[in-house]
Symmetry: C2
Subunit: 335 residues, 2 copies
């Protein structure tokens, strides 16, 4: 009674062969309008749901795509997940979320295990998994479709959804320069994230475009999190000729810098401007709210899902718009 009905029971009640029910479920043609209606009615009445396992086993598709991630930012993960999941659900697919250690020597075999076990139809890679070239090679070899979100390397190859990190970083830097800042520091993120390099490049390019010499002493490395951002800011603020603005590679590090400023009784933005990148929850939760770049994470993920599912050209690339969000953490340079 409470156990699930099968396709055969549906067919018996509808008075057709079970193959016909299968046709209706899969929206195949060559089913008369009348038969289709009758079957659909029984399906609805019995609340029948085809067994995913059986379809996967019998057919050549599993209606499942995997999402690989290795990113400790809850905000980023959350939006990647919801973006991809929404689109997948709409298109009748299931999304398998798979956290994974992108640095592990077993990365490739772990992913292949996942693929073999679940008969995945495709894979969405989010940074930094996007940069695991050994994995990409293996996927190519198996010709398993995959899309990369914000890839850093091999940008020309395969499918991807990205934003223009260089342009965004330039825009943010231009905003600071426009406010009169000349000594602009950068807290750069993890090397393993390709976008870190792009953001640095954009920062540097914009400085140069304005004839401001690039000063390596003003670039400090951190690890994409609050604590390392705070530490980097402490380092920057002890410089003899200290910067009037700090551009952090993401919002977490910017929040860390902000905390350092508070600690040192430096007023933001009166004495020091601080900008972030991502427009995560944090950007609006700290005080003052952060000037930052809104990264369309949700949309990137949903575009990625779209790309992989709607069988487009195997090397389609989508670029989405970022947006400079000017808030209260940046202001005119002090004189």
């Amino acid at each position: 009674m409470s156990s699930r009905p099968t396709i055969k029971e549906v067919s018996k009640i509808a008075g057709v062969s079970f193959k016909t029910v299968s046709r209706v479920l899969n929206n195949e043609k060559h089913v008369s309008e009348e038969t289709r209606r009758r079957v659909e009615e029984v399906v609805a009445r019995l609340n029948f749901r085809p067994s995913h396992a059986a379809r996967t086993l019998a057919g050549r598709k599993s209606f499942q795509v995997g999402l690989l991630y290795d990113n400790p930012s809850p905000y980023y993960i959350y939006h990647v997940q919801t973006g991809a999941q929404q689109r997948c659900t709409e298109l009748g697919y299931r999304l398998l979320l798979q956290p994974i250690d992108s640095q592990s020597p077993d990365l490739v075999s772990n992913v292949l295990a996942l693929i073999d076990e679940t008969h995945l139809d495709g894979l969405i890679l989010s940074p930094p998994v996007t940069e695991a070239t050994a994995l990409l090679d293996e996927l190519d070899r198996r010709s398993l479709p995959y899309v990369r979100i914000a890839p850093g390397t091999r940008k020309e190859a395969g499918m991807s959804a990205s934003m223009d990190d260089v342009a965004a970083a330039r825009e943010l830097t231009a905003h600071l320069i426009g406010l009169g800042h000349r000594r602009i520091a950068m807290i750069r993120g993890l090397e393993s994230h390709a976008s870190s390099a792009d953001r640095l490049a954009g920062y540097r390019a914009e400085l140069e475009a304005h004839g401001i010499p690039f000063d390596p002493a003003l670039v400090v490395a951190a690890e994409n999190d609050f604590a390392s951002g705070a530490a980097a800011a402490r380092e920057l603020l002890t410089l003899k000729d200290r910067p009037t603005a700090i551009f952090a590679g993401n919002d977490d590090m910017a929040a860390g810098a902000l905390a350092t400023a508070h600690e040192s009784d430096i007023e933001v933005p009166a004495q020091l401007s601080i900008a972030g990148f991502d427009d995560s929850d944090l950007a609006r939760a700290v005080w003052p709210p952060l000037t930052t770049i809104r990264q369309p994470v949700h949309e990137l993920a949903s575009a990625a899902a779209e790309l992989i599912l709607s069988g487009t050209a195997p090397q389609s690339r989508v670029t989405l718009e970022h947006k400079l969000m000017v808030r209260a953490s940046t202001g005119p340079a002090p004189r």
Copy 2:
């Protein structure tokens, strides 16, 4: 070549029947040590992975559990996910993450569809899905095992993993009272989240235990997010006899309150103490860092996974410890 090997190929190479390979894979007894070794060797060499779909179809278990959530907090979701996922992976299960609208009239049928499609072995419910009684009833009827994380109602029934919200709220309130505060306001969260009520109850109980009369004017409702927390704080701070401390039902609302204080040039904690609840990322990212209750989200989820997978008594309950995190957002009451 690149396509997955099957159990039959493994058996052929190992020189045994494919049923024996199946026995090895499932760790059944009645396989001689030598045969087992030989099979395992071939499995490793071929990198064989049993098809999940086939096992599900043939067997009576799917080795899959679902995690249902409907919570807009990236931080919370992230930790629930990773906690549950880790434990599931360790125990050889796959975790299916399923966001769902707990208010939808189709909730029950949506979940049943998921169960029927994927042959789920069990379900982990996180708040506020834990309170969907129609769903719980249906799961009971089908006798599908489920665990609830931090259930609010029917606490005595079934399996659950929770913390003591009442005790935690009392502890936090006691901390504020200990600092000399007497006019302590509360920003309470969404009614749909059962823990909101518990936290309010704990706050109230502790006040009364100290002979401080409960003042309904000091309790303002908000919606668990930054913006509504900020608005609630604005309301509280315009009171003629304004509170010296605000206890917010979660960190997001506390961060909102903090922003309101900054806006109004009220010094925290010198003129106003603010406390949160959860110890999310936010708690350490804002300035000053929030005094809050550390909620063991990760551990709760992992305990929930443990409960559902290790076939314990059908009404086991696990309670985990919270911890008061005293940081800089609370201080002695101004006089």
